[in-house]
């Protein structure tokens, strides 16, 4: 990076940062830490408040993840913690009044490891994954009430959740069947049982149903990320695991099976580096897709982040790596 590039944001967290998330517009950054706090910063260069943070206190343990709600619901953040709680925060008016805790969810009996807001088309719905092996889905209603579905998902524990895009993959390309299709209520969860599960909401039974099980990892699945679908006819899910692999699962049509491909860092590794095909040098902790779903960021325990793109032949190539 050239010296003229943006200077880093000093978070002033007192302990390890576990997650950082940019808001819908990429203008604000929320971070969370072992210091039990969540912080929110303006990050855009021309904002006068750049780097000035607000601290949100309320958790009694390390805060693992934060998630921004869609702006149509207002400035809302969810955070989850080792203390087993999920807190929903809302920015007050005026903004200088800071953030207030508007909901606290404590239906889990162990650490809550991941929170993820559903696509806005489904309403204000939050999925939470916990070490108690359960997933909870919180639905916030217009009248301020909220409901919670809690169900067993993965033995030993759930590490991550990620929602499917509301519009079915390829729906733009398919001929119109008349009328607007109902948005899809579906998400994926990653567990300590080495598997990834796909959950769908059954309108008939009004309950979450296990639709699919993706087996392929040989150790804990640490993260799962469902890609945004931009016009393409297939769905993509990326999973990161303790087994040092990243699998990209694709489903060509709504009825086709999920097919997995392992990212292969050995192709771009230096010759003689001794890389094992299909394996990363260490545990892979996080996977996240870019806005258009064309770049996958992979965070590995070897101190590096790599960025991956699918080439025209359907193979995955490492296009960049980020290191200190």
């Amino acid at each position: 990076m050239a010296p003229s590039d943006p200077i880093p944001i000093e978070t002033a967290h007192e302990d390890m940062i576990h997650d950082a998330q940019l808001d819908y517009y990429g203008k604000r950054l929320a971070t969370c830490s072992s210091d039990r706090t969540v912080k929110v910063f303006d990050v855009v260069d021309d904002e006068p408040q750049r780097g000035v943070g607000q601290t949100l206190k309320g958790h009694a343990g390390p805060v693992w993840q934060v998630a921004w709600a869609h702006p149509k619901f207002g400035h809302i953040l969810a955070s989850c913690s080792y203390d087993g709680k999920v807190i929903i925060w809302k920015e007050q008016q005026p903004a200088s009044a800071g953030w207030a805790k508007i909901k606290e969810h404590s239906l889990h009996t162990a650490s809550v490891n991941s929170v993820s807001w559903a696509p806005h088309e489904l309403g204000a719905i939050l999925a939470c994954a916990s070490s108690d092996g359960k997933i909870s889905v919180l639905t916030f209603k217009d009248d301020g009430q909220w409901g919670a579905d809690v169900f067993e998902a993965h033995a030993i524990g759930c590490n991550a959740v990620s929602w499917a895009p509301a519009a079915r993959a390829g729906s733009l390309l398919a001929p119109s069947t008349g009328g607007r299709a109902a948005p899809v209520k579906r998400f994926a969860s990653a567990g300590c049982d080495n598997i990834v599960k796909i959950w769908g909401f059954s309108e008939e039974t009004q309950a979450w149903v296990e639709e699919d099980v993706l087996e392929g990892h040989t150790d804990w699945v640490r993260d799962v990320a469902w890609a945004p679908n931009i016009g393409l006819p297939r769905s993509y899910i990326a999973t990161a695991s303790q087994d040092k692999t990243v699998l990209v699962w694709t489903k060509d049509t709504p009825t086709a099976p999920w097919v997995k491909t392992a990212l292969d860092p050995s192709i771009s590794a230096a010759p003689g580096a001794g890389a094992t095909p299909g394996k990363f040098p260490d545990v892979v902790w996080r996977v996240s897709w870019s806005l258009a779903g064309n770049v996958l960021a992979v965070s590995c325990g070897d101190g590096k982040v790599t960025l991956w793109k699918e080439n025209l032949k359907g193979g995955w190539e490492c296009v960049s790596d980020v290191s200190s």
């Binding site: 990076m1 010296p3 003229s4 590039d5 943006p6 880093p8 944001i9 000093e10 978070t11 967290h13 390890m16 940062i17 576990h18 997650d19 950082a20 940019l22 819908y24 517009y25 990429g26 203008k27 072992s34 910063f41 990050v43 855009v44 006068p48 149509k72 619901f73 080792y82 008016q93 005026p94 903004a95 217009d142 733009l172 390309l173 931009i230 016009g231 393409l232 260490d282 545990v283 902790w285 996080r286 996240s288 806005l291 258009a292 770049v295 965070s299 590995c300 325990g301 070897d302 101190g303 982040v305 960025l307 025209l312 490492c318 296009v319 960049s320 790596d321 980020v322 290191s323 200190s324």
Partner: protein
């Protein structure tokens, strides 16, 4: 693969192992705003393990921003913006013509359209301008992102493309030599004018090492003036043979027939045949010079002169050898070929010629510019595009947009792909543009030229353009402050306009919904209603109306009246909307009318205020839950000492409504009529509220009695109008 390093570094060089051993690693999250990622140090082990590791490791808790793209700097931004105008103009042209005749208009017919040529030439002009700007010897605070040489390279590639693939109407089957040589002489100038100046300043220039190379190169490049000028100096040369030969050569050079000098190719061919005969004569003269007289004191003059004659004869082997000696490349051989070897060389013959030349003079595989030139000469368009994309994705994207209509692309090559090859290059360029969020308009324009997938990508860019004003400047902390600034952020207007332009209706509605939410949060109810109407989001309209009425409950009549003042024009807009939800519109009409009532009441226009209340009842505007509030407001006016604001019939109407409330309350439905009044009375019980209404009833009854008394002795007409001074 590119490597991005953080600045300042997160840890010192070589400390990577220590960093990883401390249980840390890097994590990154992509930004929705551009192509950057936010990078930070985080834990790579479970928390318990982390504690047992190296607690003393002090790491940075900063969040870095990193980008894989070269984010356009100001000079590059100018270039991409300028060229985007031409791109947009070409798309407009494509869109404004029906598909059926577009192919013929744009070149799939026999001839290339002047429209395509014009657009290509316009691109060339901008590239030339950018080259000129980058070449200016000015002090710059930082080096240019793309230097002058980069724009020069774009210039040579684009102009070669124009020469080879965009001939003017009627010239597509014409000899290409002159244009090719002009291209070579424009971009790869040889010999230099400095060399010419150096030689012409000498008395005996033939004694200079550069004399014959300069002369040969000039002839090779098809020049006549400079070589003839230098040849004249040889009249002073000691060799009579040479003097004699020059007398043959100079007129030959000056009279070399060039196709552009003739109106028909036939005339040109006849002239050339005659000229070639004269060249033969010169060769004969040359060969007659005895071996021992072919040298002067300085060097052998015969050999270079023979080479020059060889060029004029069009002897390929000699030309190739000369080019090797002069350090010229395959391009020069090809251009010379088209002037001296085969003057009838057509565009379609070039691949064969260039392949033959390349056998002995290969291109430089490390030089992208050279590789692009070779691919263009060979007619290998996909190859040219692939190299162009490596040089600058701008070139590949704009090229393929021009090529699309020239039948140059092998359309079957991309049949099995979901995105056409054209769209892939244009989307790659748009993706590069997305590295700069300020370029969102042109990013969207390029994406929207790429079918449904491109438009969906554009939707994502449009949705992420921040449409809120600076948050710090919004949201009055004091409810009594001016509520409505009426300010609509420029970005919001721009995004909506862009959505209209490209028919992105669902995005427009979502952006309007979010804007309505922002205005609602800022308590700018007029704009909130207007934008939610535009979004046709009637659920949101309901929320806004609730929020407007809540202003009265939370802050009282003064703030309420001021807050709603700006809503009236939006209400008109809403009522004119055919799809508007009747229930919410009705409630909004009540809110506006009720705010008008308070406005009048507060400004002393009590008569009109009194009529407002009656109208709200008579037109069934007032929701039942507000009846209690309205009746109390009416009684306030009735208790006015100096004015009688209601007619007796008005008073009767109010009494009737009051009776209904009492009756319903006695039947257990009081909440339906009194809930708002209970809240405004600071959470009073239903009993307390009913007590208040009883007192109101008494006041109304007294007022009615007074009305009848007054009516007995005064002007009934005036009473009916409700204006009676006591």
């Amino acid at each position: 693969m590119t490597t991005i390093r953080l600045y300042p570094p997160l840890f010192e060089e070589g400390k990577e192992i220590e960093f990883v051993r401390s249980g840390r690693t890097l994590s990154a999250i992509p930004s929705p705003r551009d192509n950057s990622v936010a990078v930070f140090s985080t834990s790579a082990v479970d928390p318990q393990t982390l504690k047992s590791l190296n607690e003393k490791y002090t790491d940075s808790r900063d969040i870095y921003t990193a980008s894989t793209d070269k984010i356009p700097t100001s000079e590059r931004r100018l270039f991409v913006t300028d060229t985007s105008v031409i791109f947009a103009s070409l798309q407009d042209f494509k869109n404004s013509n029906k598909t059926s005749d577009l192919d013929s208009r744009l070149g799939r017919s026999e001839q290339v359209s002047p429209v395509l040529i014009k657009h290509a030439v316009d691109y060339v002009k901008i590239v030339v301008d950018s080259w000129a700007r980058a070449s200016k010897p000015v002090n710059r605070p930082r080096p240019l992102q793309y230097d002058a040489n980069h724009y020069r390279t774009l210039y040579t590639c684009l102009s070669l493309f124009v020469v080879l693939y965009l001939p003017e109407a009627g010239f597509d089957d014409a000899p290409v030599g002159e244009e090719l040589m002009e291209w070579l002489n424009t971009h790869f100038i040889e010999p230099s004018s400095e060399e010419g100046d150096h030689l012409s300043s000498q008395d005996k220039p033939w004694q200079d090492d550069t004399f014959w190379p300069y002369l040969t190169r000039s002839v090779l490049r098809g020049f006549s003036k400079a070589p003839v000028f230098l040849l004249e100096t040889l009249s002073r040369h000691p060799s009579e043979h040479l003097q004699n030969l020059v007398n043959y050569l100079s007129p030959l050079l000056s009279s070399h027939p060039r196709i552009l000098q003739f109106s028909t190719e036939r005339e040109f061919v006849v002239a050339l045949r005659r000229w070639k005969e004269r060249v033969k004569t010169l060769r004969l003269e040359l060969d007659q010079v005895p071996e021992e007289e072919r040298e002067d004191d300085f060097e052998n003059w015969w050999k270079p002169l023979s080479n020059i004659v060889g060029i004029l004869e069009g002897r390929l082997e000699i030309i190739q050898n000369i080019c090797i000696d002069l350090n010229a490349d395959w391009k020069e051989v090809c251009a010379t070929w088209s002037i001296f070897v085969n003057h009838r060389l057509r565009r379609q013959d070039l691949p064969e010629v260039v392949n033959q030349v390349l056998e002995s003079m290969p291109p430089d595989p490390t030089d992208l510019e050279d590789m692009i030139h070779v691919a263009l000469f060979r007619g290998e368009i996909m190859e040219a595009l692939s190299h162009a994309a490596k040089l600058d994705i701008w070139l590949a994207a704009h090229w393929i947009d021009l090529m699309e209509h020239l039948d140059l692309l092998n359309t079957h090559a991309g049949d099995d792909l979901e995105i056409s090859i054209r769209d892939q290059y244009i989307l790659s360029y748009a993706d590069y543009l997305h590295s700069d969020p300020a370029l969102w308009r042109i990013t969207v324009a390029y994406m929207c030229s790429c079918g449904s997938i491109g438009k969906e990508q554009a939707d994502q860019v449009l949705l992420r353009v921040p449409v809120d004003v600076n948050r710090g400047a919004t949201g009055p902390s004091d409810v009594h402050a001016t509520v409505s600034s009426g300010e609509v952020p420029e970005a919001l207007r721009d995004v909506i306009e862009t959505c209209h332009e490209y028919g992105r209706e669902s995005v427009r509605r979502m952006v309007c919904t979010i804007a309505a939410q922002n205005f609602l949060r800022r308590r700018e109810y007029g704009l909130a209603v207007s934008y939610t109407t535009s979004a046709e989001n009637w659920t949101w309209l309901g929320r806004i109306v609730d929020a407007i009425l809540a202003e009265y409950i939370k802050h009282g009549p003064e703030v309420f009246a001021r807050s709603v003042a700006a809503v009236a024009p939006s209400l008109q807009e809403l009522r004119a909307h055919p799809g508007a939800d009747g229930v919410f519109t009705h409630r909004l009409m009540f809110a506006v009318r009720y705010a008008e009532f308070h406005q009048r009441r507060l400004s002393g226009d009590l008569q009109e205020a009194a009529l407002d209340i009656l109208t709200m009842f008579n037109e069934d505007l007032a929701p039942k839950m507000w009846w209690g509030v309205l009746l109390c407001d009416a009684v306030e006016l009735v208790r006015h000492d100096s004015l009688m604001l209601y007619s007796s019939s008005g008073a009767v109407e109010l009494l009737k409504r009051l009776e209904e409330v009492n009756l319903r309350a006695s039947q257990g439905s009081g909440d339906d009529y009194l809930s708002v009044l209970m809240v405004t009375m600071k959470g009073a019980t239903e009993g307390e509220v009913l007590q208040r209404l009883k007192s109101a009833r008494l006041s109304l009854a007294k007022y009615y009695a007074k009305c009848t008394m007054v009516a007995g002795g005064r002007d009934v007409t005036r009473l009916r109008a409700g204006i009676i001074a006591v």
